[in-house]
């Protein structure tokens, strides 16, 4: 902040100096540009140090095989390691698990958010209390949420275990058939608050008279939902889908706390697999390849969303 102030004062001084008309105008423009770059610099430095440089270095890491023991030199192997990793069962499993996790969490999360937002979008007394409850999961940390579900799913005392009739059996989190679903449910619950808030904001932006017109025009509540709410909300739904997708790709805490990627890697999503490669296996070469794969996957998903979903979105004026 102080830098900016000083820069501006310097500019003011410079401007007040008498100069020929034409030179002064040119000078002012380049000074403005200079100021703009000066203001951008801190952000650029932060991004450079923490994003761009590591991003570039990651590609370099992917070309070197990490030695089995620390201290030994890395060996340059070119694209060999990338090929090895891409064809490995572990990697393919992680990609598949990530995609499944995305499919389990995003559509249901978006739908539930929309559903709850509609429920809470009523002019009823005390509806604010419900709005607060529905959005409260936003304020819950991943750790707290995971511990809650961990307890609920506990094979001896967990309430969910009891409801599912699985007392005395293997924990839901230990069962390869159910572990990913359990983690997904936790994630959906955790992200529901955000989805609800986004959808509520979207709903509030829809003019009331559209609903009134639809009511007079003879549309039932269901028809109003499908023909007015959903199309009018399509930019919001699109946004929630994109954000939900990003959150799904970034999911780490709940997996680390609930399953640690197990059982038999059934919940080992890419982000968690990267973590395990780096911090358990000390293999930053392989981890780098995973990271590149994750990057490409996210880029692909973004592209698909932009290309196909956005086309169906109505931006109302």
């Amino acid at each position: 902040m102080t830098d900016t102030g000083a820069a501006e004062r310097a500019l003011d001084l410079a401007e007040s100096a008498p100069e020929p008309e034409s030179r002064r105008r040119l000078g002012r423009r380049s000074k403005e540009a200079l100021l703009a770059y000066a203001l951008l610099l801190p952000a650029f430095v932060v991004f450079g140090v923490f994003v761009f440089y590591p991003f570039a270095r990651n590609f370099e890491y992917a070309l070197y095989r990490t030695p089995p023991f620390p201290g030994l030199p890395k060996t340059y192997v070119g694209f060999d390691q990338i090929g090895d990793v891409l064809s490995s069962h572990d990697f393919q499993n992680s990609v598949w698990v990530t995609i499944l996790f995305l499919l389990y969490t995003v559509p249901i999360g978006v739908f539930l958010g929309l559903f709850l937002a509609n429920l809470a979008h009523q002019k009823l007394k005390g509806i604010r209390a419900y709005r607060t409850i529905f959005s409260s999961t936003v304020a819950t940390s991943v750790a707290a949420a995971s511990v809650i579900f961990f307890t609920l799913l506990n094979p001896q005392v967990g309430l969910f275990t009891y409801w599912l009739g699985r007392e005395g059996e293997i924990s839901v989190l230990q069962d390869p058939k159910t572990a990913l679903i359990a983690v997904s449910v936790t994630t959906i619950w955790q992200n529901l608050g955000l989805s609800f808030i986004v959808m509520s904001a979207g709903l509030q932006a829809i003019p009331d008279d559209l609903y009134e017109a639809a009511r007079v025009d003879g549309a039932s509540a269901t028809r109003r939902f499908w023909r007015v709410t959903v199309p009018m909300l399509s930019p919001t739904i699109f946004f929630a889908t994109v954000v939900g997708g990003i959150l799904a790709f970034r999911a780490f805490g709940q997996i680390d706390l609930l399953t640690e990627g197990g059982p038999v890697q059934k919940t080992n999503v890419l982000v968690y697999a990267i973590y395990r490669q780096v911090f358990r296996n000390n293999n930053d070469g392989v981890a780098a390849v995973y990271a590149i794969a994750l990057f490409l996957l996210v880029m692909m998903l973004t592209f698909i969303q932009m290309r196909f979903l956005e086309r169906r979105v109505t931006y109302a004026r």
């Binding site: 008279d209 017109a213 007079v216 025009d217 549309a219 199309p231 009018m232 399509s234 109505t314």
Partner: protein, 362 residues
């Protein structure tokens, strides 16, 4: 088409009375205008007819049915909103056929009706556009087409012209009347614009503070306003209203106004005497005041406003009350700060009770 009847209808919002015991009958094929300043309850009244608000008390009838408990969609009315409330994600065709689709009208019939409605409003070539690609006037016509497409029992219009520019509004006003005549439609039309009300309505119902002030044909409301509110609300520039004490002498009843004593017409005089009022408010339309050099009511010209075809002369009386005089532009205008004398024909005076504001005499 059919009648719409409001009987003792009241609407209260959290202790605020928006509509206060309004009884009103809109005849079959009648164009009735609900007129009033903003916040007078006219829109609330209309929304109760549509079913978008529930009356706190009273009954609403459309045709032969009491519709208090009937859902908006089953009331068989169509509404045109001030904002038009077009569905932005649908084409013009989609918008017009929406009410038909909601009512499961069969496809070929639907297409025929949409074509007809679009043709009658000149929208044939715009059917595949989205509302965002239309001008304000075109959107307004789409909203009208969506209303007429299903031939409802009554049309409810909430300030449908207020978002149009002045020129287009005049043109659309005429088109709307023509449309109403052709469809033989019952229309309840809400506006705050008295020019719209005067030009369009078969009858005008004037509301203020939720209460019905007067109902009648435009000319009648203009010629014999029932109270001070109506007198001041209808007419541009508004009616002059001057306060003065009542003087009774041997021959009749007169009002003392700014230095003069103005005798009242016989019928009005009798009514004033009968009412026992000590003070009255005399109303006179700007076009009924004559400016001369001789006369008892003295005034000073403060502003002369020329509108081209006519002139408004704002005068200040000796006791500081204001009087506006309307003059054709072909007579000589006084200058500002001129001392003038004002006079009016006794037949053109409206007399109101100073306390209740009600009209005295016929």
């Amino acid at each position: 088409m059919s009648r719409v009847v409001l009987d003792g209808v009241t609407k209260r919002f959290d202790g605020v009375v928006a509509v206060d015991d309004v009884s009103l009958e809109v005849g079959d094929r009648e164009f009735l205008v609900l007129l009033g300043p903003s916040g007078c309850g006219k829109s609330t009244a209309l929304r109760m007819i549509a079913g978008l608000e529930d009356p706190t008390a009273g009954t609403i009838r459309i045709g032969d049915r009491v519709v208090n408990e009937v859902e908006p969609k089953d009331r068989d009315v169509a509404m045109v909103f001030q904002s038009y409330a077009l569905y932005p994600h649908m084409t013009v065709r989609g918008n017009i056929e929406f009410p038909l689709k909601s009512r499961r009208v069969e496809k070929t019939e639907r297409e025929r009706l949409v074509r007809e409605a679009a043709a009658s409003l000149g929208l044939d070539t715009l059917l595949d556009r989205k509302p965002a690609q239309l001008s304000g006037g075109q959107r307004q016509r789409v909203a009208l087409a969506r209303a007429i497409v299903r031939r409802p029992q009554a049309f409810l219009m909430d300030e449908p012209l207020s978002n149009l520019d002045a020129k287009l509004r005049v043109q659309t006003r005429a088109e709307l009347i023509e449309l109403q005549r052709r469809l033989e439609a019952t229309v309840v039309y809400v506006t705050h614009d008295q020019v719209e009300a005067m030009t369009m309505g078969d009858r005008i119902a004037i509301l203020d503070a939720g209460k019905l002030q007067q109902v009648g044909p435009p000319q009648e409301v203009y010629a014999a306003p029932a109270n001070l509110f109506v007198a001041r609300f209808i007419g541009t520039p508004p009616m002059n209203t001057i306060r003065g004490p009542v003087r009774k002498d041997g021959e009749g009843v007169a009002v003392a106004l700014a230095g003069d004593v103005v005798p009242l017409e016989e019928g009005v005089a009798r009514a004033v005497a009968a009412s026992g009022a000590d003070e009255v408010i005399v109303g006179v339309r700007p076009e009924h005041v004559a400016i001369g050099s001789a006369g008892a009511i003295r005034a000073v010209v403060t502003v002369v406003e020329s509108l081209g075809h006519e002139r408004h002369i704002v005068c200040r009386l000796e006791d500081d009350q204001m009087v506006i005089v309307r003059q054709p532009s072909d007579v000589a205008a006084p200058s500002e700060r001129d001392h003038v004398a004002l006079s009016a024909d006794a037949a053109n005076l409206h007399v109101f009770d100073a306390e209740s504001g009600l009209r005295i005499g016929s």
